[in-house]
Structures are given as structure tokens and as C-alpha cells.
């Protein structure tokens, strides 16, 4: 009744706020929600003269928090996380302990100095307070960093820290809670040792439990072939189960869910049906967004309650000060130590953002509300202070975070009006840099990662992934590669047997039919591009009309002002064109972590286009090198033409040599690329009768390939929408194909024989 009315009111106000993007870009969503909570709290209090809506800790910890953590961990970029795990752990463990100790001790020191007046509080209680206010909150971090796009390493450090520090927080909280219950004098070395030991148990136990549930979940999804309709539900059920089980065993529940999500991602996505994967993603986002909204609104509502507010200027202000300062000191200290060991040092600016991004949130409030009033008489003071700290960090620091980041960045990059050549080169450098990074292999191919990858491939995936999904991973491409290699050798020897001109003289056209491969989504972007082979030989000269027109424009014009005007207009035009059409570099495509969007690559069309152009140009240069014809020489003059011959133009002599002598490798390379581009060259097709042709399974639009391909390859290298990799490998000798082997298991034998021949 009341509950539902309040919620419907708040949820209806929510889109109103969302519509006002201008507001959102200044005040982070979480801040607005808290303010909304104030308003609602005011309404309820006005109606009831008492706050009947409170955020009760059980509600928060059991109904609102788990799905946020599950969502965060399910979409966690694993590679990034694990490569920075060392740093994250240092921040989480030592950073949190440092914060707790310093804040608690400083406050106690100030209390002893008499700044806070008379309070019924002792050292242990200060330490308890320190431990609950020390933890950086994942919910708040997600909410604020949503608006501020920082680089991925920085994000993962803060975010990872906020997730993993729960282990420490829970332990510290429980330990000090127990100490407070015991009373001061009974604390001795044994108790302290127990405390440290309990940290180990809680943290590692929680993580281990999470991993166990991840394995369970993966095994479940492996067996759900016949109940695909409900397999999405398993993710949520098992995730929640992980949380509850850990909590029941007094282990760290957040760590449990975190590791469950992190470890199960890959296998669940590979095993489940495509539709289930999509369902899970969307449902996860809905639940997480909803919970987050509710949490912040509740945080606001809880404020409007005269009962809980106890104001002690000294306590509150000093807490704010210490929390802020010790965070900065802690981050800089730890980073200084870490930078000695990291391959990529963390820069000063990142450290500033990291310290400023140490936001406290609902977890701190929840822990404060769970305090026992009997043992801790100043509970209300603690709650009030916690709330104020939360509001300060979320609202104030949230609002100023973005301007701060922009101000810091602006100091490094000059935004003066750039000339065309500067713009062009800027972009070129971006491309160069991402290419070199890709060549270097950003994550690193050291022994550890390779060893782990091998172990994982052979044993873990065997256990947890569906056989079909496993097969379709990289096996797909390596086997294609081998089979295409053989085809390529056959092709070349065939071509040479018939005389090398046989290839050129063919009047057939090589149809690069992108439409067929990639569906109608790309028709508007990707016209049918036909490479007319006969042109190379005959040297047909095609002029476009515009080239003729352009040549007739006199170079000297008597209309001086007209020329100037034209120049200015051209100038603006040129800048505009560059702005609009320069391909974005992959650096800009990097993970933009967002609560609401989870597609990683926004401009798939552009990537698609680049990929296909690169493949075509490789094809061109290879063909020209192989067949002894150099179309580049002939066509350089005719660059004022339609787009189709652009690629031929692109490779002057230098790069032609590139693919010259490595006959087999070069062929296989471009053939494997052709495979993805879906090129149908009649020269490739054997003389087969049409009935056989159509009965070949890979030419039919069936779901022969495991449908969760797309889910598997969310990453850039293959276009997302590639529903099926049409294996254009048409063998002249047999009808065995990779896919056929897939369909009928007993036919694997011919395929393995084939492989053995290699």
C-alpha cells in the first residue's frame, strides 16, 4: 500500500530525471537519487510524523546488494582484473587496514584531546567505527565512475579494490565487534591472533566458495541442452545461493559472489544458448540498476528522521577530514611502493583520481545500522556521521569528480585549433600506437599466462564447457587454417598447371558478396563490391565524369574574392570531413564501463569496414604479387574512379614484395581472411553438380555452428553479427568438412585422417 505508492512515485520520477541529460551530466545519478530520497522521505515524514520507511540492514544485505555485486562480477573484464590483481589486493587489504587504523586512532586521539566533548565511547569503538567507514563502496564507485570515463586500468584498480575490500571490512568489523563485546581488558595476543586468522579464513573461504559455485553453475549450464528456456534462471539462483551460503558460514558473502561471477562468465556464456545469454545480460542489468536506484533513494529517505540524528560537530567534521586525508595519503604511499614492481607505473593523475574516488556508500551505512545499541551507546552518532560521510562522498565528490578529471586532463593536452595536418597525424598516431600495442601484446605472453591458458584449455574447459562449444573456440580457426592451406596449395598448382594466365583470363568476376555474409544490416554501409578481373589485363581506362569536370575548371580565376570564399568554405569543409570520417582508433573503442550499456564496441560498422578493406587489399596485393601482374602500376593514374578500384591503388611496389615468396603462408592468410569475408569466387568452386552443392550442410542456413558463438566472441576481432562462419572451403576430393563432423559425431574419423595428413 504505502510501500507500493512510494515506489511507483519514485520510479515515475526517475525517467523524468533521466530525460534531463544536462542535469545528469553535472550531478551524478546517484546524487540525484539521494536528493529524490530526501524529498520522498520528507513526504512520508510529513504524513506520518515519523519515518516509517527505513533501510533495514537485512533488506539491504539480502535483497538489494547481491544482485549489484553479481552484475559487477559477471561483466568484469577478467583479463584486466587478473593482470592487475596484485595491485588490487594491495590496495584492498593494506589500504583498507590503513584507513581503518588511522581514522579510528586519529579520532580517538582527538577525543582524548577533548575536541568532541563528552561521549560514551572508547578506543575499541573508535576502531570499530574506523573499520566500517574505511571501506570503499562498489555501488558508489560504479555509480560515479559511470559518468566519468577514466582509463581502464584506473577503473579496474578502484573498482576491484571496492569489491575485494569487503573481505577485510567484514573481518575487521566482526573482530572489533567481538572485542567490544568482550571488553577492553580481555584482549590479549591470542585474541589478536584469532582476528588475523579469521581474516584468512573469511577472505579465502569466501573466495573459494565462490569458485565452487562457479564450477557448479558451469556444470549446470553444460547439461541444460534440453531445458534451454530456463537456463538463464540458473545464473541468478546459483549466484544468490553463493551469497547466502557464504553468509550462513560467516564468510565474506561479497567475495563469494564476486568470484562466482568472475569465474563462471566464460563457461556460462559459451554453454548457454544465445538467447539465454542475452536474457541473462538484460535481466542482470535490470536487477542491478533497480537495486542501485532503490539503495540510493533509501539512503535519502533514511535521512529524514529526527530520531537518529545526533549532531556532534567535532566528531562529524573530524571524521570527514580524516577520511579524506588518510585516503589520499594511503593511496599515494601504496602506489609509490607498487610502482617499483609494476611494469606500467601508475601516474600521479591516476593516483589523484583514485584517492578522490574513494567513495563510501550504503555498505558502510548498513554496517552502522547493524550495530548493537546496548554495547555501543553512541550508535546514533555513528549512524549520523556515516550518513553524512556517504552524502559528502557521493554527492559532493561525485559532482566534482568529472570537472576534476577534465581539468587534470586538459592540463596535459592542448586543445588549440589544430590544422588539418595535425588532426590527420593525431589520428594516424593513435592508429600506430594501437597497432604497436597489439603487436607487443598488451597483456603479455609470459610463462605464467601461457601456462595457465594451456592448463585451462586442456582441463578446465574440458570439464566445464559443452563439447560443442569447446570445439568451436579456436579449433575452428586452426582447423580452417590447415584445411585452407591444403586448398591453397591445390589452387596454386592448379593455376600453374593451366598456365598462370588462366587466372587472369577468366571472365568471371570474383564476387565479394558481403551482403550474403553479414545480412541486411550492412547493406547500406557495404555495397556489393565487385572486382572485375578482366580490367587488369586489358587496362581499361575508366574515367569518372567528375574527373573530367574538374580538369576543366580554370586554375586562374579572376574572381579573387570568390576564390577566397571558396577557400574558406573548402577549409571548413575539409576540417568537417576529417572530423566526421576519420576512422576512430581502437584506443577510443576500449571498454567504456557502463551500468546501462554493455556492448563493448559501438561502432561495429566502422570496424567492419576497416576489416574488409584490409582483407581486400591483402587479397589484391597477394594476387598481384603471385600472378606477376602489377595492377598498381596500371591503375595509379585512374585513382579518380569509383571506389571499387581503390584497393588496387593502395599498394605500390614496396608492399607487394611483402607477400611475394611466402607462397603457402600468404595464400592461407588471405584465404582465411576471405573465409570471413564470404568471397565466392567461381574459380574456387569445383565443378560440382548443383544438387550436391545445395545439399552440403555448410551452404545451408542452419544453425550447425554452436549458436553461442556470438556470445563467445564479443571481442573485436570477429564482427559481432557474424552468425555463421560460412566455410567456403570447398574441397574437390571429399565432402568431409569441419561442420559435418560436428553434426554427426561418428564421422569424425575422416576429419582426423585429414588432419593427420598435414
Amino acid at each position: 500500500s504505502k510501500l507500493s505508492s512510494v515506489f511507483s512515485l519514485s520510479l515515475s520520477l526517475y525517467p523524468v530525471i533521466e530525460l534531463n541529460h544536462h542535469v545528469i551530466s553535472v550531478v551524478p545519478e546517484s546524487g540525484l537519487l539521494i536528493i529524490l530520497g530526501f524529498i520522498l522521505g520528507g513526504i512520508v515524514w510529513g504524513a506520518d510524523k515519523a519515518q516509517t520507511f527505513k533501510l533495514l540492514p537485512p533488506t539491504f544485505f539480502y535483497y538489494l546488494l547481491p544482485q549489484i555485486i553479481l552484475d559487477a562480477s559477471y561483466f568484469m573484464p577478467n583479463k584486466l582484473f587478473f593482470s592487475n590483481l596484485g595491485s588490487i589486493l594491495i590496495y584492498a587489504i593494506f589500504g583498507t587496514c590503513w584507513n581503518a587504523a588511522t581514522v579510528g586512532l586519529s579520532l580517538w586521539g582527538c577525543y582524548e584531546a577533548g575536541v568532541m566533548g563528552n561521549l560514551d565511547i572508547g578506543l575499541l569503538q573508535f576502531l570499530l567505527f574506523g573499520s566500517l567507514i574505511a571501506a570503499v563502496d562498489p555501488v558508489a564507485v560504479i555509480a560515479v565512475f559511470e559518468e566519468v570515463h577514466v582509463n581502464e586500468v584506473l577503473f579496474i584498480l578502484v573498482f576491484g579494490e571496492s569489491l575485494l575490500n569487503d573481505g577485510v571490512t567484514v573481518v575487521l568489523y566482526n573482530v572489533f565487534d567481538a572485542f567490544v563485546a568482550l571488553g577492553g581488558p580481555r584482549i590479549d595476543a591470542e585474541e589478536i591472533f584469532k582476528g588475523i586468522f579469521s581474516f584468512v579464513v573469511v577472505a579465502f573461504g569466501g573466495s573459494f566458495l565462490g569458485v565452487v559455485f562457479a564450477v557448479l553453475l558451469s556444470l549446470l549450464t553444460r547439461c541444460t541442452k534440453h531445458i534451454q528456456i530456463i537456463e538463464a534462471g540458473f545464473v541468478f539462483v546459483v549466484g544468490y545461493l553463493a551469497y547466502l551460503t557464504a553468509d550462513m558460514l560467516s564468510l565474506s558473502a561479497i567475495l563469494s559472489v564476486t568470484f562466482c561471477g568472475i569465474c563462471c562468465q566464460k563457461y556460462v556464456n559459451a554453454n548457454m544458448d544465445e538467447k539465454s545469454v542475452t536474457t541473462v545480460r538484460h535481466a542482470m542489468k535490470v536487477l542491478a540498476n533497480g537495486s542501485e536506484t532503490m539503495i540510493f533513494v533509501f539512503l535519502g529517505i533514511t535521512a529524514i528522521d529526527t530520531e537518529i540524528w545526533v549532531w556532534n560537530t567535532g566528531f562529524i567534521l573530524l571524521t570527514l577530514l580524516f577520511v579524506f586525508i588518510y585516503r589520499i595519503i594511503g593511496v599515494f604511499l601504496l602506489t609509490w611502493m607498487l610502482n617499483k614492481f609494476r611494469l606500467v607505473p601508475i601516474e600521479v593523475i591516476d593516483q589523484v583520481v583514485m584517492s578522490y574516488g574513494g567513495l563510501r556508500g550504503a555498505v558502510a551505512y548498513g554496517l552502522a545500522a547493524m550495530l548493537d545499541k546496548d554495547k555501543i551507546p553512541e550508535k546514533n552518532l555513528i549512524i549520523s556521521t556515516t550518513l553524512i560521510v556517504v552524502y559528502f562522498t557521493v554527492i559532493l565528490q561525485g559532482i566534482t569528480m568529472k570537472p576534476l578529471v577534465q581539468w587534470l586532463k586538459v592540463k596535459r593536452a592542448a586543445h588549440a585549433d589544430l590544422k588539418l595536418i595535425e588532426k590527420l597525424n593525431n589520428r594516424a598516431f593513435d592508429h600506430i600506437l594501437s597497432a604497436v600495442e597489439d603487436i607487443c601484446g598488451r597483456i603479455g605472453d609470459n610463462w605464467w599466462t601461457r601456462g595457465w591458458n594451456r592448463f585451462e584449455e586442456n582441463y578446465i574447459s574440458w570439464l566445464l564447457m559443452k563439447p560443442k562449444a569447446r570445439k568451436n573456440r579456436d579449433y575452428l580457426f586452426s582447423i580452417f587454417h590447415k584445411l585452407n592451406l591444403e586448398d591453397a596449395v591445390n589452387y596454386v598448382s592448379e593455376g600453374e598447371r593451366q598456365g598462370s594466365l588462366a587466372f587472369i583470363r577468366s571472365d568471371e568476376v570474383a564476387n565479394v558478396d558481403f551482403k550474403k555474409q553479414f545480412g541486411s544490416e550492412f547493406t547500406d554501409v557495404m555495397p556489393d563490391i565487385m572486382v572485375d578481373m578482366s580490367n587488369y589485363e586489358l587496362g581499361i581506362e575508366n574515367f569518372s565524369v567528375t574527373s573530367i569536370v574538374k580538369d576543366t575548371i580554370p586554375s586562374v580565376s579572376l574572381d579573387i574574392h570568390g576564390k577566397d570564399r571558396k577557400n574558406v568554405a573548402d577549409d571548413i569543409n575539409a576540417h568537417h570531413l576529417l572530423q566526421q570520417h576519420l576512422y576512430r582508433s581502437r584506443k577510443n573503442h576500449r571498454h567504456k564501463f557502463s551500468r546501462s550499456h554493455f556492448s563493448i564496441n559501438q561502432s561495429e560498422d566502422e570496424v567492419q569496414e576497416i576489416f574488409q578493406r584490409t582483407m581486400r587489399s591483402r587479397l589484391e596485393s597477394f594476387k598481384s604479387a603471385k600472378m606477376g601482374v602489377n595492377p598498381a602500376k596500371k591503375i595509379t593514374k585512374h585513382h579518380k574512379k569509383d571506389l571499387t578500384h581503390k584497393m588496387a591503388n593502395g599498394h605500390p611496389d614496396g608492399t607487394d614484395h611483402l607477400y611475394g615468396d611466402e607462397e603457402v603462408e600468404g595464400l592461407s592468410m588471405f584465404l582465411s581472411c576471405l573465409i570471413e569475408a564470404g568471397i565466392e569466387n567461381p574459380v574456387f568452386l569445383p565443378a560440382m553438380d548443383s544438387p550436391t552443392h545445395s545439399s552440403l550442410p555448410w551452404l545451408m542456413e542452419t544453425d550447425a555452428v554452436a549458436p553461442s558463438q556470438r556470445a563467445q566472441w564479443r571481442l573485436l576481432w570477429t564482427p559481432n553479427r557474424l552468425r555463421r562462419l560460412a566455410p567456403m572451403r570447398v574441397s574437390t576430393c571429399s565432402t568431409d568438412s569441419f561442420l559435418m563432423a560436428d553434426l554427426e559425431e561418428h564421422e569424425e574419423k575422416p576429419q582426423t585422417d585429414h588432419e593427420e595428413e598435414m
Partner: protein, 205 residues
């Protein structure tokens, strides 16, 4: 550091390599022995790319890096690794080329007689220049510029627009009016750009 030293020794000519590229073996003031790790890391990467274990890379190996196909000038950059006429890249060359992308050593003492380090601003610019200047005549002709523009711009841009952009670009940079961009003109036109930042990979420090 014993294990790293033994791994390092397996790489041929490693001292010469380190001296030429500036990836130092000796500990500097502020950082512990970080750099040997880089060479080892690059060596691991080299071995991983060299799938057939031949000890050198060919264009096909680079072509196998899937992300490079997504880069409009990826193939040109691959080409930069191969000296004209050579079709393989050994580890030595691999590291030398990548060393261009080390961040500039700001506190390097200026020794008058030593050759300029490979990652100096000037050498970085030379690397970029060579990507444009495919025929290696020391100048970027209009055609070469057109090719680069064509590669970097979307298919929606028509040829006339392309030519207009190329013309204006040359106009902006070409000081001696010979309708080509020489290296000096190139360098001058990019004075304002922070090359050190844009062409450096942090983990090659």
C-alpha cells in the same frame, strides 16, 4: 634476478641490443631492475608470434594478429618492420623497431658525441614519416598522402573530397612550394603535437 639473467643470456646479442635500444640492464636511481623484464617479455611475445619456431617472423605471422586487421594502417605498420628487400624480421630488428615507442627519457644526460637514442622525438617522427613515404624518397608526395588519407577515411568520402583535403594538407605544411612534404616540413608542422606522449607505450620504459 638470477632467473632473469639466465633467461636474458639465452637471447643472442642481448647486450648489443640493450645498448642500441636503450633498454637498460643496470638499475637506475628510482627504479629497480625493471627493464630486463621488458626484453624478456618482448622475447616471449616474439616466440609466441613465431608460431613455427623459426626464429624470425614473416608477414604472415603479423597477419595472424587479428586486431591488426582492424586497423586502417595496420598493413603499413607491418611493412615498417621489414626492411626493403628483406622478408623476415629477427628478434633484434623487432625490438629495435618497438624501441621507437619507448617513452622519452626526460632526464637523460646530454652527451654530445653519442648518437641520438632510438626513441628520441626526432626518430619517432622519422618512423611515422616512413609510414607515409612508401617509396622512400624522403618526401611525401601528393599521391602518397592520398593513399594514406584514403586508408584512414571512411568509404563515404568521395574522391573529390579526398583530393581537396590532400591539397589543403599539403598547402598547410609545404613551405618550399614543391608540392611535396619533406621531413623537415613534416617535423615543423607537428611542433605543437606532444609526440612523446602520442607515440609512446608506457610499458616499454
Amino acid at each position: 634476478m638470477g632467473s632473469t639473467n639466465s633467461t636474458l643470456l639465452k637471447i643472442p646479442n642481448v647486450e648489443v641490443l640493450m645498448q642500441e635500444t636503450g633498454l637498460k640492464l643496470v638499475a637506475e636511481e628510482n627504479c629497480l631492475n625493471v627493464s630486463p623484464a621488458h626484453i624478456i617479455r618482448l622475447h616471449d611475445r616474439f616466440k609466441a608470434l613465431d608460431k613455427e619456431g623459426r626464429g624470425h617472423l614473416c608477414p604472415h605471422d603479423f597477419g595472424a594478429i587479428k586486431e591488426l586487421a582492424m586497423n586502417p594502417i595496420g598493413d603499413r605498420i607491418i611493412g615498417a618492420f621489414f626492411s626493403p628487400g628483406k622478408e623476415t624480421v629477427d628478434f633484434h630488428t623487432f625490438v629495435k623497431i618497438l624501441a621507437h615507442f619507448r617513452p622519452v627519457d626526460k632526464d637523460r644526460p646530454k652527451e654530445p658525441n653519442s648518437p641520438e637514442p632510438i626513441n628520441s622525438r626526432s626518430n619517432k617522427l622519422k618512423f611515422a614519416f616512413q609510414l607515409y613515404d612508401q617509396d622512400k624518397d624522403g618526401k611525401i608526395s601528393r599521391d602518397e598522402l592520398l593513399q594514406v588519407l584514403r586508408a584512414m577515411l571512411g568509404m563515404q568520402v568521395t574522391d573529390e573530397q579526398l583530393e581537396s583535403i590532400a591539397d589543403r594538407t599539403i598547402q598547410e605544411a609545404d613551405l618550399d612550394r614543391d608540392d611535396t612534404i619533406s621531413f623537415e616540413e613534416f617535423r615543423k608542422s607537428l611542433e605543437k603535437i606532444n609526440i612523446d606522449h602520442k607515440m609512446s607505450i608506457r610499458f616499454l620504459r
